[in-house]
């Protein structure tokens, strides 16, 4: 049988079949088969157009990047849902683009791309090079990019086409704008609840009853009073001494740091050791150098000539020994540099020995200024003191920790050893202790541990801040309890009194309001002078009162209403006039408000349009995939 298959596969029928198989691949490419192979899972389907898990995850990642990579952001189910909704809207618009036959021609597309600022070359025109490079940098092919642009352009066309149709006949815009920009003349009369507190009587029996009924409000957690010690590096600084010699040394060793922008111009005459640096040639060089030095000292004005004559530095001899300006740290040999920066301008040095030979140096000019020793002395002293204190602190801290631990029945020994004073706190709960020690939870936990709380031992020393240790012990403690009546009696009475007063204010206010509404007058009200307010401009009146004032029925003026303020006072509101704010607007403002109205209307059109597409579409959402964590 195999033989039969083999012989047939070479026949012409087999060849026809082969051609039939090959053609589709040639036309559509292998990738369309491969592409559809994996990633079958879809989060949602819009009119048969799938949103794959991959695409959804990509959108989530993009959203996450926008939120500064907060990983929790995209785990929020509402956020996930709204991101999916946005994708669904995009799909709806894309499928509407297809259905409606909306088109962007190649010409329109290239017009847009050519004018995008991202692709402009140096001469301000489109640069193919910039285009290719930017696309490559974003991992896109021109074809892919153009398809994406076309899609965006079409969706934009669809959107703008709806938004830009928004217009409203003037008469109707007026209705909305008159409501928005109305002015109302408002005055208020406040019945302060405080002014009723004299009339408010609180029965002592009521206070007790309140206490008995609301025990929960008076609960108090477990509390301690504690002693504590704080050892900081700052304590050590005060007892540290620094000598002037130490400061001088430091200044010299760190001369670079203090040189500022000072640079010095030097000339020199070099008498070299020669190729063999043995004692004999050194001695010979020194002899020669001394002779030259004597000559220089005799006629310092001829330094340049003498340098030309004697100097064995081939680089500078011809220039009269001139080396130009240099700063500290520019690479001069150390003895040379030290000598140069110790000289005063115009002077000539004695012999200076370096690895090259003997130098006679002349300082010809100084530029810029360095910080002098005197200027930086105190600064260096401070620096050295804290350095010393820090280096001591490790030892002191260890000793402190040991003392606190070994003599755990008292903080006194540790205090004495470090010239500290034991301090005592008031009553503190566990949270109080933590915040007391700069939110150090560790120490708070230790204070409330059995060892410390019950056995009255010291806590161990804990680092509560850099270079700061603290230790504590409990003086006395009390278990969670309900505050005794006597302690809270006064507070309760005050609160009840306030309640009473507010109630009285409300009664009086409502009665007055009733009279005012009937057209009567109430003599003992003090009305504020009327102010013309807008919704968006409450002036000195509280926004809640203004909100209320704009909800009042103004068919009969003056109109009255009342509202209770946060502190229990009763506010009577009077609207005495209503004005049309649009009338008094200048032409430009009016134009802008109308544009804002039509802008809002355009958005509303578009939202309704999307809703309409949604209503008509077939959308399925796979909730199990929507909620799942990222799979990549």
């Amino acid at each position: 049988m195999l033989e039969a298959i083999r012989s047939r596969s070479q026949g012409w029928i087999a060849k026809v079949i082969l051609v039939l198989i090959t053609v589709p691949f040639a036309l559509f490419g292998v990738d369309s088969y491969l592409r559809n192979a994996g990633s079958k899972a879809t989060v949602a389907e819009v009119n048969g157009n799938a949103i794959s898990v991959q695409e959804f995850n990509k959108s989530l990642q993009d959203a996450r990047t926008q939120q500064k990579d907060d990983p929790n952001f995209i785990q929020n189910p509402e956020v996930r849902r709204s991101i999916l909704d946005k994708m669904i809207t995009q799909r709806l618009l894309q499928s509407e683009v297809k259905r409606g036959g909306y088109l962007v021609t190649d010409e329109q597309l290239s017009n847009l791309i050519v004018t995008m600022p991202e692709f402009q070359g140096k001469d301000g025109t489109f640069s193919q090079d910039a285009y290719d490079k930017l696309l490559a940098a974003n991992g896109m092919t021109p074809r892919g990019f153009e398809a994406m642009m076309r899609r965006d352009l079409l969706v934009q066309q669809l959107r703008d086409g709806i938004v830009s149709t928004a217009f409203t006949p003037d008469a109707l815009v007026d209705v909305a704008l008159r409501a928005k920009h109305q002015l109302r003349e408002v005055s208020v009369a406040t019945l302060q609840s405080d002014s009723f507190s004299d009339l408010a009587k609180v029965d002592p029996a009521d206070v007790k009853a309140y206490y008995d009924k609301h025990q929960d409000e008076f609960r108090r957690p477990e509390q301690v009073r504690m002693q504590f010690l704080v050892l900081s590096v700052n304590n050590l600084i005060l007892t540290t001494t620094v000598t002037d010699d130490e400061i001088k040394d430091f200044y010299q060793q760190n001369a670079n740091k203090y040189q500022g922008d000072e640079s010095r111009r030097a000339s020199h005459i070099l008498i070299a050791f020669g190729s063999q640096k043995d004692a004999a040639s050194k001695a010979a060089a020194k002899k020669k150098a001394l002779e030259v030095l004597a000559e220089v000292k005799k006629s310092p004005g001829k330094f340049a000539e003498l340098a030309k004559k004697y100097s064995q530095d081939p680089g500078s001899a011809d220039k009269g020994g001139d080396l130009g300006f240099s700063k500290r740290g520019d690479g001069m040999v150390k003895p040379f540099e030290d000598a140069l920066f110790a000289m005063s301008p115009g002077s000539v040095s004695d012999l200076v020995e370096t690895e090259f030979g003997y130098h006679i140096i002349k300082l010809s000019e100084v530029k810029g200024t360095a910080q002098t020793y005197d200027q930086v002395r105190n600064q260096i002293r401070g620096e050295l003191m804290s350095q010393k204190a820090l280096s001591k602190f490790a030892d002191v801290a260890e000793a402190f920790s040991n003392t606190v631990y070994e003599q755990s029945a008292s903080l006194e020994p540790a205090a004495k050893a470090n010239h500290l004073e034991v301090q005592t706190s008031g009553w503190l709960s566990r949270d109080d202790v933590a915040s007391f020690f700069k939110n150090n939870d560790k120490l708070a936990t230790l204070v409330f541990s059995d060892e410390v709380l019950k056995n009255k031992r010291n806590t161990e020393a804990v680092e509560i801040a850099p270079n700061t240790l603290a230790a504590a012990r409990v003086v006395e403690s009390r278990p969670p309890s309900i505050k005794p009546f006597d302690e809270v009696k006064a507070d309760i009475e005050a609160a009840l009194k306030k309640q009473q007063a507010a109630k009285l204010a409300l009664q009086k206010g409502e009665k007055s309001l009733e009279i005012l509404k009937q057209g009567g007058s109430v003599s003992d009200l003090s009305w504020s002078s009327p102010l013309s307010v807008e919704r968006s401009n409450a002036q000195s009146i509280s926004t809640s009162v203004v909100l209320k004032a704009f909800q009042m029925d103004t068919s009969k003026l003056p109109a009255y209403a009342g509202s209770v303020a946060l502190d229990g006072s009763y506010v009577l509101i009077k609207v005495s006039a209503v004005e049309d704010g649009v009338k008094s607007m200048n032409a430009e403002d009016k134009k802008a408000t109308i544009a804002r109205y039509n802008g809002a209307l355009g958005s509303e059109y578009f939202l309704a349009y999307v809703k309409s597409l949604r209503n008509r579409a077939k959308i399925t959402i796979n909730n199990s995939l929507l909620g799942s964590k990222d799979t990549n």
């Binding site: 149709t165 409203t168 958005s603 309704a608």
Partner: protein
Amino acid sequence: MAYDLEEQEQLEELKAWWKRYGNTVQWALLVALTIAAGFQGWKYYQYRQNSQASMLYESLQRLSVADTKSVRAVSAQIMDKYGDTSYAPRAALLAAQTNYVAKDRKSAIAQLEWVMTHGSDEALQTIAMLQLAGLKTEDKQYDAALKLLGTKHDPAFDGLVADMQGDILVAQGKTAEAKKAYQDALGKLDEKNSFRKYTEQKLDGLGS
């Protein structure tokens, strides 16, 4: 090329089959090709219509509302020559807007009515209906405007429809009914868009 016996047999069969059905097959092929060509031609026609309408529409969108003459000319071209494309009702809406600004009410109304009877996009038809009702309201034809708003429309626009009903009822002095309409609108308008603020304020103004 020499065929073996089996293959020669198959060849004979094929020849016989072709003699019998060959004619039918040729006709069928011809018909299929004609249909395919027609379909392609029709698609090409559609493509040409849409792409030309798209270019015109784009230039229309770039025009200012106040440029009455150009807007009228371009939109008329789209409506006349490419009336079946999706761009036509959009162009008509823009033309209506321009005509209203130019105080040519008659043309504006005609264009809105054209949108309501042409095209397949119910959303655009509803927008035209809203704007037409607005014009009628401005002309104080309140009952006609309410009647228009009561006709069948895209339910996604119910919030905007109710809002306008409220405006008309206020104009008619029917405060209680207007309140109801505004409240209805607030239930249907988008919750995040700023348009609902206006409705809220209009409702407030009636004294709640």
